[in-house]
């Protein structure tokens, strides 16, 4: 997907591509459902990156060909996937041992809200049917670096990078980087404030400031 000249900001794939720039050679990575999944299509050439699926697989391959679909081989989103030469399988307790134990280098997750202190809310909306947190709380608690990829504002135009989350948390003080359709925010550690480090095409600092209620450094 190429952006058209009129489009301001990044497409979903642009956001995934921006997240993919954070990959390093040899990384073990967990990708959430939605935009994060698109990161897999944007791995820079020459890098060896191994994708983990928290149900119990390292080395996720692409979707299978129609005649190679295997019900015994799915990813954490319950989609059929394929196997690679470096693939290994294990049980869920071992899988979350990897995650909780800090062996995964990077996770890219979706978000509903991120607070200026790095809290993340992405699993439930009070009053709506609660489906459950799945592995999200384990990932944010255990993975070395957490990138949240989300639209900068909600469908109603409300800011999503805010002073304090209004929704129930997935994790407290866990986010390292935020990539939206408008900008990229980063912090070097969990005691520092987020800093605006990059603007999407055609987006100004002022526009970002206007659509963000969180405190951050320019």
């Amino acid at each position: 997907m190429a952006t058209t000249v009129e489009t301001k900001g990044w497409t979903r794939n642009d956001m995934a591509a921006r997240a993919a720039k954070e990959l390093r050679d040899g990384y073990y990575v967990n990708l959430g459902i939605g935009i994060p999944t698109l990161v897999a299509n944007n791995i820079p050439p020459g890098l060896t990156v191994t994708l983990q699926s928290e149900n119990g697989m390292l080395g996720i391959g692409p979707f299978p060909y129609d005649d190679e679909v295997d019900p015994d081989l799915i990813n954490a989103g319950k989609q059929t996937v394929s196997q690679l030469p470096q693939t290994s399988y294990f049980d869920s307790a071992t899988s979350f041992g990897m995650i909780r134990g800090g062996h995964i280098d990077l996770a890219v997750l979706g978000g509903m809200e991120v607070s200026e202190d790095g809290d993340l809310a992405n699993w439930m909306v009070p009053g709506k049917m609660i489906k459950g947190m799945g592995g999200a709380m384990d990932l944010v608690a255990g993975v070395k670096k957490i990138i949240v990829v989300m639209e900068h504002v909600s469908k109603n135009g409300a800011a999503k990078f805010i002073p304090e989350c209004t929704l129930p948390l997935t994790g407290k003080n866990v986010v390292d980087m935020i990539i939206t359709d408008l900008a990229v925010f980063q912090r070097p550690d969990h005691d520092s404030p987020f800093k605006l480090i990059e603007l999407a095409s055609g987006v100004t600092k002022e526009e970002v400031r206007e659509k963000t209620t969180a405190n951050y450094v320019d």
Partner: protein, 235 residues
């Protein structure tokens, strides 16, 4: 000592009582103990507490036990894609205890390994931590989670030998392995039972000590929740 039973019904014989706790393997519809779930439905047992990562989907997997209202409480990490569950939940007819997925897997493993409690960072500062003991280790805060012990575990394997040594295939290992260890009695259904000595002893995933009863549940017509494929490139 004969571990092999002729059917799921016979393998459950003498183990069931209303209000019991069952640990079930599987992730989504991948590696679920279908035959044993069907036999639980047929048994009419009720007020079950079921520890399972998911609750099946409508009319598949644990969804069948939901439809018949045999489940009182679920301990799960994700119960989406299930209209009947949603209906019962919103009507207050079923209880749900949400566990982070890794916490649930570890709770099962701990219960099976004689560990009544362990500390984890997962969930600290969230609803999950409410009411749980908090403790600092090396300057970081963790919460205490409890091991789970079930009255019966039901799991699905690929191949087992006649002594109960068992292997899983690909991503079906998931919760089947930790669930197997945490049951006072573990019943495994498999696609094939082979002679002792047929499995490589270095490749056994679940040693026979964890499998108390065994059935051949074949043939299986495995369901797929989200069938995703790619196109072959033109030659």
């Amino acid at each position: 000592m004969q571990k092999i039973y002729p059917s799921a019904e016979s393998a459950l014989d003498g183990l069931l009582f209303d209000g019991m706790t069952i640990a079930a393997g599987g992730f989504g519809l991948c590696g679920i103990p279908e035959r044993l779930i069907d036999a639980l439905v047929a048994s009419g047992i009720k007020d079950l507490t079921v520890a399972s990562n998911n609750a099946g989907i409508d009319n598949e997997g644990l969804g069948k036990l939901l439809r018949t209202r045999q489940i009182k409480k679920m301990i799960s990490s994700y119960v989406g894609e299930n209209k009947e569950f949603e209906r019962q939940f919103l009507a207050g007819e079923i209880e749900i205890e949400f566990n982070p997925q890794g916490t649930l897997a570890e709770r099962m493993r701990a219960g099976g390994a004689g560990i009544p409690g362990f500390y984890t960072k997962t969930g600290v500062g969230t609803q999950v931590a409410e009411g749980k003991e908090h403790k600092e280790f090396d300057g970081e805060t963790y919460i205490l989670e409890r091991g789970i012990r079930a009255d019966v575990s039901i799991i699905k394997g690929w191949k087992a030998d006649e002594t109960g040594n068992l292997m899983f295939r690909k991503t079906t290992r998931n919760f089947n392995l930790p669930a197997a260890t945490c049951g006072k009695v573990c019943i495994a259904e498999v696609e094939e039972i082979v002679a002792a000595g047929s499995l490589d002893p270095d490749c056994v995933h679940l040693p026979s000590i964890f499998v108390n009863r065994l059935i051949d549940g074949s043939p299986y017509d495995k369901r797929i929740e989200f069938r995703t494929v790619r196109e072959r490139e033109a030659a």
